[in-house]
Symmetry: C2
Subunit: 506 residues, 2 copies
């Protein structure tokens, strides 16, 4: 900001000009970053002030009644609990109960799963809510994710500690490690930690896997008469933790905006050079939400969605043909460039590759060395494996992740498709069917560069509000719940805050 | 902007709050983009108004007197011309001449080389300057770069045509193709185009190669008594066209800022996950300027500069050792993560790889098929080639670019180094020397995603001013000059505008 705003009041035109100049300065990114770090997220009316009413609804059931029995058996103590709604103290709801007692409590928070922009604001919101209601309450953050929880490595969260992390991306205040709290050994370590640290509440920040673990922990803790209540928070940039109570997840909005901007840059690049096809792989494992939302925001020429590929059972051959047909049709309009998006999970959605991966992972689990796997595959899997280019073969042989999926971030599906398309276009060219310019592919993986980015205002607010809700869930004495906000497409003052038993989303 | 600013004047505090809210909205990127598209770049005082004085200095000589004779012989008509300075009409410089006549002229402009943010503003600046001095003058843009020039494919630039490209990234208004205008056939096609289209001036927008071509064209046109004056404009995101008259190039500022932001995101990611080493390859061929500037802006853990590697003759082995030593030292401090930057040109700076590439390119030029190259390399080159991983071997065998360099954007040097480091760290681990966690590398190429991005304010101003200068060079009747601005680190009102014979920078 090399033209600082004058200090005395000026007319609107001058001020507008002054701000416009600041905004279009070379350093506008720094201006935004600075303003963002000073931003105080909004709270919906129901959470403002120190008095919140909680209304408990009817008992809940699983989405699919067929599952109810199974889930009920697995979660006898935490299944079927009522929905909770948080309302203003003045709300005219006869059954709603005002929580008047706010004893000193101790709460622990752990980042599980992959980092997602604005995770830090969950901590901030929870910390503010704790201190507003009882300044002696304590918030402990576990250092290094679930491993920090097991090892009881904590950092006490204070305003000082938080100061440089408010509205900032990354999980670097606490760090994170493995995703899972699942084995008996891990669950017991978590139980011991909560008992040793005398925690009244344990907040688990993460996606589908982590919230499933949270539900399991809540049940186990209840069975063990542990006083610690477990609360889950929907934070995952993949945006795939969704049900009737969870409209979106913290981080998804930011990731889609940042990636859409980069994709738009690449679209401009494609139009400028007029000679490249860009194959861009985006985050998104089982769900292609990021790829779909980025498509809506940035208008690439083509997107391949994992769900469609799986539903229509499209093979590598089908996908190659679809892309080649589009490339050929564009060439006939004298367009020899384009942008194609795909999610990292696509590779597992292609039926024959999925089956091949299953065979490979099964052999790996049996301890077969990677060098010998090719010779032990079934004949058809072996034929497919040997058809694939060398670099993909190596990547398919990587050990699966803790959730049994392939190491999707390491598998360059965009390069595989680019390779297959190039081969097919060259063939069509020789046959005289393709008459465009030489096919050139440029491949990108937009995986890690958006994950640490500055969160959007929406994610700042959403995460901060969820942090507040965590406190009210604990104050209401609920266990095995997820913090929820609905009506998110409206401004913050219309947001509805609540809590749903985690098992209801299963 | 879901909270629009009130229309009537308010006090500063309210307004500040209002703007702060706008800025930190989810859509701040759109806000910036919209404001940027409405931005009118500044002009330094010397170029304001309709009267500009030109001062011609003494005859210039080549930087290195030893080269003077050679250059003079190659450019007998355009070497040794004086420097030109553009001054305000009121400037008290006795020898400066006021250009009073502004006849109707026709000017052509061509984008050469790779797209660079704010190239469009050169067109805008030139168009404005042309129309201010004579509303009947015409600006033609060549469609599709040098090939559009040869084929005389033009688009007349008007305010309407420009409206959506002002202050925008990419070269998509005109497009571009090959870099070079060099063979006799190409030079003659350019000459014919300029004669046929009755051009008074030809503006060549590009980097080192394109401005070298501009100097050659200027000489050829002068020798052929062609009335078209040739002017070069320093536009290259690599920032490597630098001499005493050219302080930086259009696009470099934007590219460094955008990439530094992405690198900072990755640094946050590294600190959050605490388990990855990120190897990030940046643009920059012969010069590592982008990598160096991004290092200064984003503070990664390590940067490898091509110039240092070449000067110290560091081998692949040396580089691997340097990185491994750093990884090991960090592990001893319990840090198992980091960010390492390198320029795409690094691979050609490593002495033994450079020699290998020379051999490969020589064999390719002799028509040897890629499959047979390995067997025809000299014994030491063959040994190195076979030592390298398969993916790099394939990439080294790609046809060289038009300027004889390797296809640097396609050679994944970051993956090669990550591979070599991983191998060495694993070895040290077995030997008990390395006691850190398992080494995990994530590789990125930040090549194309920044190229089409919104230009920084600096680049908007710089390109627009250079466009104006192009007009004044033509109005002064100069041929074979490059538009220059010095004193760039000061605000625009202190910028000094001039023109230097292109050959002076050789």
């Amino acid at each position: 900001m090399n033209k600082p705003c004058p200090r005395k009041p000026l007319d609107l035109t001058t001020l507008l000009k002054c701000f416009t100049i600041d905004l279009i300065q070379a350093d506008w990114r720094l201006v935004v970053q600075k303003l963002r770090s000073q931003y105080q997220p909004e709270l919906p009316p129901c959470l403002q002030g120190t008095t919140v009413r909680v209304e408990l609804g009817d008992a809940t059931t699983a989405l699919d009644p067929a599952d109810a029995h199974t889930i009920n058996r697995a979660f006898p103590l935490t299944y079927g609990q009522p929905l909770a709604h948080f309302l203003r103290a003045t709300a005219q709801v006869p059954d709603a109960q005002i929580i008047t007692e706010h004893p000193t409590i101790r709460v622990g928070l752990v980042f599980c799963g992959r980092q997602s922009p604005s995770g830090h604001n969950v901590i901030w919101g929870l910390h503010d809510a704790l201190k507003i209601h009882n300044s002696k309450s304590t918030l402990l953050g576990f250092l290094g994710g679930s491993e920090g929880l097991f090892a009881q490595k904590t950092l006490e969260i204070t305003d000082d500690v938080l100061s440089t992390y408010k509205n900032q991306g990354g999980y670097d205040l606490l760090g994170r490690t493995k995703d899972q709290i699942r084995t008996m050994e891990q669950v017991n370590a978590a139980l011991t930690a909560c008992k040793d640290l005398k925690l009244d509440g344990l907040i688990i920040v993460g996606g589908v896997t982590s919230n499933t673990d949270a539900a399991q922990l809540a049940e186990t803790f209840a069975a063990a008469n542990c006083a610690t209540k477990v609360v889950g928070v929907p934070v995952t940039l993949n945006g795939d933790l969704k049900n009737q109570f969870v409209e979106t997840d913290v981080g998804f909005d930011t990731i889609c905006k940042v990636n859409s901007q980069l994709i738009s840059n690449v679209c401009t690049d494609a139009l400028s050079a007029e000679k490249y096809y860009y194959f861009i792989r985006l985050m998104g494992r089982k769900a292609s939400h990021v790829a779909l939302e980025c498509t809506l925001q940035s208008h690439p020429n083509m997107v391949i969605l994992g769900e469609e590929v799986a539903a229509s059972k499209l093979t590598l051959f089908d996908l190659t043909k679809q892309i080649c047909d589009a490339v050929q049709a564009r060439a006939e309009q004298d367009k020899n460039h384009g942008v194609i998006l795909l999610p990292e999970g696509l590779i597992e959605s292609i039926p024959e590759v999925y089956a091949l991966l299953k065979e490979i992972h099964s052999l790996l689990r049996q301890g077969v060395l990677t060098d010998s796997i090719s010779s032990q595959l079934s004949p058809w899997a072996s034929a497919l494996f040997n058809f694939l280019p060398d670099f993909i073969r190596k990547q398919l042989l990587l050990d699966p992740e803790s959730d049994d999926s392939a190491q999707l971030s390491q598998i360059e599906t965009e390069k595989l498709l680019a390779h297959l398309v190039e081969t097919e276009i060259n063939k069509r060219q020789k046959q005289g069917k393709y008459k465009g310019k030489k096919f050139n592919a440029v491949c990108h993986f937009f995986g890690y560069q958006a994950r640490g980015s500055l969160p959007s205002k929406f994610d700042c607010d959403y995460a901060y509000v969820l942090g507040h809700i965590c406190y009210h869930i604990l104050a209401a004495g609920l266990n095995g719940y997820m913090a929820t906000v609905t009506n998110l497409k409206n401004p913050v003052n219309k947001w509805r805050c609540g809590a749903a038993p985690i098992t209801v989303g299963f």
